[in-house]
């Protein structure tokens, strides 16, 4: 996904001299072709995240479209004030490309795992927050929104995710539906967990439980008016996200459902805990531990359905 995102930035930059890439001490080979081909549009700065965000804001104020890439936690935690003031307050088209969303960097420990990034970014006025599900959607997003005037935060997955969004060849800000709209279960998700949710959908189907998966690649406004009465009359609604329990997708859903007077009685959540993990291992280990892989998800849904019946 990261590879696709960076190659898309290169492609966009080739045809648009306003598009710039700014990295913060990334690996030596990062976009080496772009560096050689269009060196004026490529910046590899030091380990100075506060600086690169302000730097990008200055460039954007002068009409450029900077794509800033480094580890998500550094963009969100380290540079929060620069992101909020230099980019958010000035409403500048800086793109924050956040490597390692959720537990991707689990082996590197809690300093590197982006468990509250969506919450932080969603709290900033003017910031548009995205969590695409695969490389296909990533390319669509970056390409279609290149001239959008707002700042963006884009959460990356680990990479190599199965492509599941090919039925949505253009990118818009609406939710993406997978499955029959009159299902017993509706699963809300965002980002790379879509793949796990679609696997869970298959497992449930083999047990004759119908489930619809709704993926929100854009998290600021969920367009819940598109979630019709069939969906809201399902027996069970469940929000699945690789994020701390509050401030992410579940909070957004609650906010919009309550505002629209839509029912939340049957709404549940599976998420990361409200805690910094002191375990390492892999992202998959943490998804399993927290019930976020397809098997655990399907089991949880089956249990909830039994309790509801």
């Amino acid at each position: 996904m990261r590879q696709k995102a960076l190659s898309t930035v290169y492609k966009l930059a080739k045809s648009n001299p306003k598009v710039l890439f700014i990295g913060s001490d990334l690996g030596a080979g990062t976009l080496s072709s772009m560096r050689e081909d269009i060196p004026d549009q490529f910046f590899m700065e030091g380990v100075s995240e506060q600086h690169i965000v302000g730097f990008a804001a200055g460039l954007a104020q002068e009409g450029f479209i900077p794509y800033v890439n480094t580890i998500g936690t550094f963009l969100t935690r380290r540079s929060f004030e620069q992101v909020s003031i230099d980019i958010g307050l000035h409403r500048l088209p800086v793109r924050l490309l956040a490597s390692g969303g959720g537990m991707v960097y689990a082996p590197l420990g809690p300093t590197h795992t982006a468990i509250e990034d969506l919450s932080l970014m969603l709290s900033i006025p003017n910031m548009k927050v995205f969590a695409p599900a695969d490389a296909f959607e990533m390319e669509n997003l970056l390409t279609h929104l290149v001239n959008d005037e707002d700042p963006h935060y884009v959460r990356f997955g680990k990479g190599g995710e199965t492509i599941v969004t090919e039925n949505y060849p253009t990118f818009d800000l609406k939710p993406k539906f997978f499955g029959d709209k009159s299902s017993e279960v509706v699963i809300f998700t965002t980002g790379v967990l879509l793949q796990h949710c679609l696997e869970a959908q298959k497992l449930l189907s083999s047990n004759e439980i119908s489930a619809t998966v709704v993926h929100f690649p854009y998290l600021n406004e969920l367009s819940v008016e598109q979630i019709d009465s069939n969906l809201t009359s399902a027996h069970l609604l469940i929000c699945v996200e690789e994020h701390v329990p509050r401030g992410g997708l579940y909070t957004q859903i609650l906010h919009e459902f309550v505002s629209a007077r839509m029912p939340t009685k049957n709404l549940y959540q599976i998420s990361l805990p409200n805690a910094f993990s002191h375990n390492y291992g892999s992202q998959a280990d943490h998804l399993d531990l927290n019930g976020l892989n397809s098997v655990k998800m399907a089991l949880k849904i089956e249990t909830l359905l039994v309790n509801h019946s």
Binding site: H51, G54, G58, Q61, E62, E81, Q82
Partner: protein, 279 residues
């Protein structure tokens, strides 16, 4: 080094124009009943010289493409900037009276979205240099000739982001960038040396790859000479350490933290400050 400059800064007698701009600051201070007087009074001559003689700018076209960019990174010095901009006709002088009112265009820190002539909104310290570096690179990428000036406070140099920016300005050989330090030796909680010393400040900037000049920040002629030197797109970025007096021109506000920021300012206090300025 600095002793001499500090003495000189203290000894400078303000001319009519400098006093007029300070009266405009008092006008806003009275209107708002609050404000940062000390940090504004120290930078009046720097701003006056920039806008009178150095910057390419047009008050009738604040976003003129070829204008030089100026960022007041120490946003709390905005009363000085408001006075200079109003004096140049960027907006009516009557705006000053509305300082900090609910629907005023003049807030306690400067905002690009509300006031013509403000290049970038500041207030949280340590932001302006990196933004200015982005602008300077933009000028280079567009092959344009405009320059970038960033005014920072000495207390602001406590912010780590300033030094991140300094390293990068040097790495990019941003000859078109000028950093001016309003070195008034006082920060909110006291003398900078009692908080966190910056010495040896000239050596520090030199070590970070800057061309360093030290001047009396209230000496208009010296400011014009130094800031007026030509610059190249590529080359060492430069820093001007402008030694100033916090509260300059107002005896009771000079070299004290009392007037760093003050609320509930009374009419008598304003009258007293005016008297001090004019005697």
């Amino acid at each position: 080094m600095t002793t001499n400059y500090i003495e000189l800064a203290n000894e400078i007698h303000l001319d009519v124009r400098s006093k007029k701009l300070r009266l405009m600051v008092l006008h806003a201070l009275e209107g708002g009943g609050r404000g940062h007087l000390g940090p504004a009074a120290s930078l009046i001559e720097i701003l006056r010289v920039l806008y009178d003689s150095i910057l390419v700018h047009d008050p009738s076209d604040p976003f003129l493409q070829k204008r030089d960019r100026f960022i007041l990174s120490k946003g709390h010095g905005c009363l000085g900037l408001y006075a200079v901009l109003a004096d140049h006709g960027y907006f009516p002088v009557s705006y000053l009276e509305e300082f900090c009112e609910f629907d005023s265009k003049l807030g306690g820190h400067p905002e690009r979205a509300t006031l013509p002539g403000i290049e970038f909104s500041t207030g949280a310290l340590g932001h302006g240099l990196s933004v200015g570096i982005g602008m300077a690179i933009a000028s280079r990428l567009r092959k344009e000739k405009w320059r970038t000036f960033v005014l920072v406070g000495d207390g602001e140099l406590n912010e780590g982001s300033i030094w991140e920016g300094a390293m990068h300005a040097s790495q990019h050989q941003l000859g078109s960038l000028t950093v001016i330090v309003d070195f008034n030796r006082m920060q909110a909680s006291g003398d900078i040396n009692s908080v966190i010393t910056l010495a040896p400040i000239a050596s520090k900037w030199d070590a970070f790859g800057f061309e360093v000049t030290e001047i009396n920040g209230h000496d208009v002629v010296q400011l014009e000479q130094v800031l007026g030197l030509s610059t190249d797109t590529y080359g060492k970025p430069r820093v001007v350490l402008a030694y100033t007096v916090k509260g300059k021109g107002f005896t009771s506000a000079e070299n004290t933290t009392t007037w760093h920021h003050k609320a509930k300012i009374t009419r008598d206090e304003i009258l007293n400050l005016r008297r001090e300025l004019m005697t």
